[in-house]
Symmetry: C2
Subunit: 248 residues, 2 copies
């Protein structure tokens, strides 16, 4: 394995083992960890896949993941594989598909939670800019509960170019913008391939991307407290698309 990354936490490791999309170097399990259904599951999955696991002192795990969120399990694995926008488009050609574009979202917990909601809502991909906002790191993987292994992750130097490529292929582009006039539930998500752009919590979506959007939608609030967390806002819009698909 040329490069490696760490993932930690029982569910993250189980998801990565089950997905079969990651190459494992080894799994480290705390020798202090109590007998536990999930630890047993990790050992069984590792054996099935021929992955080495070792029991190590808890202090060893704490030295690798100092914030103490490892729950007694750390895996050394190959990094998430990013794919190119053109490969993503090709893969989903001829089907109704969807993708979420994060424009400068900087909080790893938010990115992880958004990826988790994306997978639950059947979204096919997530597009992250190489230079603004976070890429996939260990915190994103942990917060996503392993969802990073169930979605195409596209990294791009230019969100503008990625959006233009999608538009050339007849994808529709929706921007979440609290200045918008249209409400998010006034769009029909069921008969198009769509890209949903979510912006950074304070700055919102860049003007250059707003200009490329086919729809701008807002989430109406019942009070003046106009300040949804970006992962909650993403979930609200994506699950409206699910609701429409389920009730059509």
């Amino acid at each position: 394995m040329e490069e490696q990354t760490i993932i930690f936490g029982k569910n993250s490791v189980i998801e990565a083992l089950e997905s079969g999309t990651r190459e494992f170097n080894k799994i480290l399990i705390s020798s202090n960890s109590r007998a536990d259904v999930k630890i047993e599951q990790i050992k069984n999955l590792a054996q099935k896949r021929g992955v080495v696991f070792q029991f190590v002192a808890k202090e060893k795990l704490n030295s690798i993941e100092p914030e103490g969120r490892h729950q007694g399990v750390i895996a050394l694995i190959s990094p998430v594989k990013y794919i190119e926008i053109d490969d993503f488009i090709e893969k989903h050609r001829g089907k109704l598909a969807s993708v979420v574009i994060l424009d400068g979202v900087e909080d790893s917990h938010n990115v992880g939670a958004i990826i988790r909601s994306c997978v639950c809502a059947g979204v096919d991909g997530i597009i992250l800019p190489s230079r603004r906002g976070v890429l996939i790191n260990s915190t994103v993987e942990k917060t996503s509960a392993g969802a990073t292994n169930h979605i195409d992750i596209i990294k791009t130097n230019s969100l503008v170019n990625a959006i233009q490529r999608l538009k050339e292929e007849n994808w529709w582009v929706i921007a979440s913008d609290h200045h918008a006039e249209q409400n998010y539930y006034e769009i029909d998500y069921t008969d198009m391939s769509f890209a949903l752009i979510m912006g950074a919590e304070h700055a919102g979506i860049s003007k250059s991307l707003l200009k490329l959007s086919d729809f701008k939608v807002k989430i109406p609030m019942l009070t003046n407290f106009n300040s949804l967390n970006v992962s909650n806002a993403s979930a609200i819009i994506l699950f409206e698309s699910v609701r429409q698909k389920m009730t059509k």
Copy 2:
């Protein structure tokens, strides 16, 4: 002030000053902090309300909030005021109202994000058990972006008793349960006062509370990855109620 707590972060402090619901001891501002619109706003609001502010070394702030999330501002203020369930019921008698009940949610970030969504969605109160899960702490206040000052917060020794009181007063009780048959969007939220129970991320809702529920609802997923974050699940259900109210 008999007891005091800290809140930190620019938005949290601004929200608390604007809400007028909290008693301030003083505000500490980092003397290193750059000129900034929000710091100016805090100084102006503090002057208007007769609240003392002091410039202190950044190290002083770091010693009070060691995780470095204070953004140069910490306020020493009175704790959130909890109210009694009977007072809450009385306050909203004769109106259509709503409340979210958290059954053992333990992550402060989730509790904060849920309170934030509640306020955006016009929910009137949040009920927290005294002994299971978290109460309002500084992390909840920060994550809520100040929303804790815009909602009634009820602390109870017994969620069962609180729910029974609500039911006696003709509130309807909805439990979010992924084993449910009914989908969350199949309920009409517009013509009743309702309490929505959200459970702990792994354990779900206690059986004793499920038994008291009038409706059990699930959020259908488009994949087998059945694992929404509890704050996202709350937002999805609450904003369906908003959608229904806006489109009725």
